[in-house]
Structure formats: C-alpha cells, structure tokens
Symmetry: C2
C-alpha cells in the first residue's frame, strides 16, 4: 500500500512558496500578509491560529493576529472586517470559527472580500468556485487534490465517492473531483447502504466526521482512500480518522494516514492561497 | 406510466401567485416588478424575454424590458445594472444571455445584486445556494423539484443520477437533490459507461444537451425520468428532449414529456422567484 504522506507534500508546498514569497517581496517592497481574526478565548482555536501564523512566517510571509474579546458586538466585528477589506497591505483575511453564539457567522461569510478570502469559504467565494471560476479553492479539498497530483494519481474517468456533504469539505470536494473529470457520488448521513457505493469506487474521500467508521470491508481491492477525519478516539486516546487505517495494508492501493495525511495540507493550502491572492491583487494594480 | 405534466404544474404555480401578488400590491401600493435586460437583436432571445414579460403580467406583476443596442459598451451595461440594483421599485433583474461577444457575462454575473437576482445564477447567489442559504434557487432545477413535490415523489433515500454538469442545470440540480436527502451521482461527458449509472438509479435527471441520447435500455424498471433537454430534432423537425420518450411507456414509473415537461416550469419559477424576492426585500424594510 502506498502511504499518501501529506506531511511530505505539505513540506513541498511550503518549500515552493519560499521563492514565490521572496519574488513578491522584492517586487512590491513588502511580504504577502495574512490577517487572522479570533474572537474570544477558546483554547483549541487559539492553537489553530497560532499554527497558521507560524506557517506564514516560516515561508517569509507576515501575519497579524487580531484577538477580539468574547463580548465584542456584531457591529464592531463588521467594522474590523471592513477595515481589513479596505487595507491595501492585507492580502488574506481569515476569521477563525466558531464564533461566540451572539455573533453571526453568516454575516462574516457575506462580508469578507472574495479577493482576500484565504479560506475560500465566504458565500461569494463559494459561488465563484462552484461556477468553476475560483479566486482560491477551499483549503481542505484543494489539499486533497494536491496530494493526488503529487502522487500522479489522475482521477479522470474514475468512479469517486465523497462521504459527507459539509460546505467546508464534502460539497467542494465533490466539485473539485467533478472538475477533474471523475464521476462523483456524494454520500451522506441519509444515504442507504453506504458500503454499496464505497465498495464500487476507485477513489473514496471520507469526510463524515465519525471516528473509525469505515474499514477494509467498505473498499474494493486497490481503491484509493483519503481520510479527512480527525478525532481523539484511537486506542489509548490517540488521533485517528474516519477510517480504520490499520486494516487497509495489503488491500487498498493507496491511503492517507491520520495524523500526517490530509491534516497538514489544510494549513499549507491556506498559506499558498494567501500568497496567490497577494500575487493576483498586486498584478491587477500594477 | 405517470406523465409528469409540467404545463399543469406551472399553471398551478401561476395560480398560486395571483393572490400573493394581490396581497403584495395591496400592502405596498405597487406590484412586484421584474426588469429584463436584453442586448442586441437575437430573435430567439427576444421571444424568450417576451414570454417572460407576458408570464409576469398574467399574474398581476409588472415588468420593464430594457432593449439595449448590440454595440453597447461594458461600462454602459454596468451602469444600467447598477441603476437597477439601486432602484427600489425593481424587485427582480434578469439579463438575457447570451450577450454579444465583446461583453463579459462574468462581469454581469458579478454585478446583479443577489437580493434581486431572479434567475439565481450570479456568482454570489450560487454561493449562498450551495451553502444551503439561497435567496432564490436557480429556475430550472427548482422547477424540477416543484414537479416532484407536486406528484408527491419524495427523493429522500433515493439513488439519483444527474447527467450533465452545467452551472445552470446539472450542478444546482445535484445540490437540490442532495439537500432533499437523495444520494446523487453527477455524470458528464467524461463519465465512462454512463448507462451503468443510469440503470442503477431510482431517479434520473437528464440535462446533457444531446437530442434523444438515452432510451428505455438506459433506465431500470420503474425509474423516474426527468428530461431537461429541448431540441428541434424530433421526427419531422418536432421538439424533442435528451430522452427517447416514446420508448418509456410500460417501463418507467414516471417521466416528463418534451414539450410540456420541465420547460414550462422554468418561467413559472422565474416569476415565483421575483415575487419571493419582492416579498423578502419589502419585509426587511418594513
């Protein structure tokens, strides 16, 4: 079984960014810049945004962390985002979710300018994306495509199944695989006989959010299995995915482990997106 | 075989609009209004927009037709759309495609305000739609859902196949069926062994744009077949769809004819969308 090593692919993405960031910095007199907004003090969210900041800086980009108090009003948050939209030195904007319950995620997703939307998840960005004209692509599904391209796995003509229909992973994943000429079935919690679909598929992307839900018996021989799950539910409280990875060896052709598979690709794609947005916006002005 | 009579369903949609339009008119002192923009003098396009205008007026709504010369500049077209976006008495805006080649459809699809986008096809509208939070739904796929609801066909748990991946029909159709808890496979020109998919499906929506492409042998017994095609390629130059309809009797459970199936639903949904946008915008202000 080929182990699809996302940590390695993410490393290559980061390495490829270093000269791009250098070239940008030389040409425009400043590095690409990501502004991260976080509201409140959820510890897990603070770890995520810290990692994003570190990843930016590791490739030579700069970033600002805007830590807003948990009781900030919607109007103040809106004002903050508007000022980042307007700030010419801000290339990427990322608002860390979840927000405290009194704030509207909807409003944020309507507000961040598409040309600065590093996550590719605002409503407008999703619209451009589904119409096949993205500014940037949603990070996790695009991270999966990068892994496939890295290992020269062409999905054209493949039967692909995506398990999970979230706006962040499942739906955009189906869109990207369809664009790449796979024939995609989007399965979800209301799908009857899920394994009937997965057993027929050349490629299965599992983004169901249920720990260790699928195993060897759900995949056909020589399938390619991508696991987007991430849970602290493995034996001894270890990290695990939506797939029982240890069953796959000797059966499937290739699979992503958890950790070290899709996970590292999300942040790598986020910083590549930011660099790409910086380049696009700068080239339009110059 | 149950004939899914779109003409009849469209008639019911229109009838249901009459009292809604009346109530709106009484409450706000004016009828819901659709502004249609057409550039150049393509005869087919002029027939389409005329039919849309007639359909509006038949339910008591008003409409304006803006006929712009074929050589209008992008800047002038933009100005026109901006003025309609800003005009408080305009509830729905529809720009008839195709545009002359010197004009950018992209620009138009970025410009029309989502809260007035009667077609539901601008980039922003598509984004809200794919995120499951539509202003209104794209007309043709929503027209198909209206037919299914009218005949009390629940797609929940069904295996559905959509043939064709256009932004206007195939992709939003897959989204609506997925939202309604069907498990959807999106097939397209690069799908290998198409009939393997269609033969397995409880419901097949054919929007491939190829005249008489599928027939009895492509569907399983008792399937439901929806034909979005419309071609002047039937025997004797008659209208026909993507499906060889005459083969289906005695085999499938239900099917839409062409003409008189999905076609009439598109305009009916367009005017319902306009009425809905009018109601939403008015209720937000009052």
């Amino acid at each position: 079984m080929l182990v699809l090593n996302g940590k390695e692919v993410a490393g290559e993405v980061r390495s490829s960014l270093v000269p791009r960031v250098q070239a940008f910095t030389q040409k425009y007199g400043r590095a690409p810049h990501l502004s991260v907004v976080i509201v409140g003090d959820d510890p897990a969210s603070h770890v995520y945004v810290k990692n994003k900041k570190i990843a930016c800086e590791a490739v030579g980009m700069t970033s600002t962390l805007h830590e807003l108090p948990a009781d900030i009003s919607q109007a103040e948050l809106t004002l903050m985002i508007r000022s980042l939209n307007a700030d010419d030195h801000v290339d990427g904007i990322l608002v860390q979710f979840p927000l405290p319950p009194h704030l509207s995620a909807d409003e944020v997703l309507s507000l961040v300018a598409s040309e600065k939307d590093a996550d590719g998840l605002t409503y407008a960005s999703l619209g451009y994306f589904f119409a096949g004209k993205p500014f940037v692509k949603p990070c996790t599904p695009e991270g999966v495509m990068k892994i496939l391209r890295h290992y020269k796995i062409s999905v054209e003509g493949m039967k692909a199944v995506v398990v999970g229909r979230s706006n962040i992973v499942g739906k955009p994943m189906a869109q990207l695989l369809t664009e790449a000429n796979a024939t995609v079935t989007l399965c979800h919690s209301k799908t009857k006989n899920l394994s009937e679909y997965t057993l027929n598929a050349d490629l299965v992307v599992v983004a169901a959010g249920r720990a260790r839900m699928l195993g060897k018996d759900d995949f056909k021989k020589d399938a390619i299995v991508i696991d987007v799950g991430m849970h602290r539910a493995g034996p001894g409280g270890k990290l695990c995915g939506d797939v029982r990875y240890e069953e796959l060896e000797g059966w499937v052709k290739a699979a992503t482990p958890v950790p070290g598979g899709v996970g590292p690709m999300t942040i790598a794609t986020l910083i590549e997106n930011t660099c790409e947005l910086a380049e696009k916006r700068a080239s339009l002005k110059n």
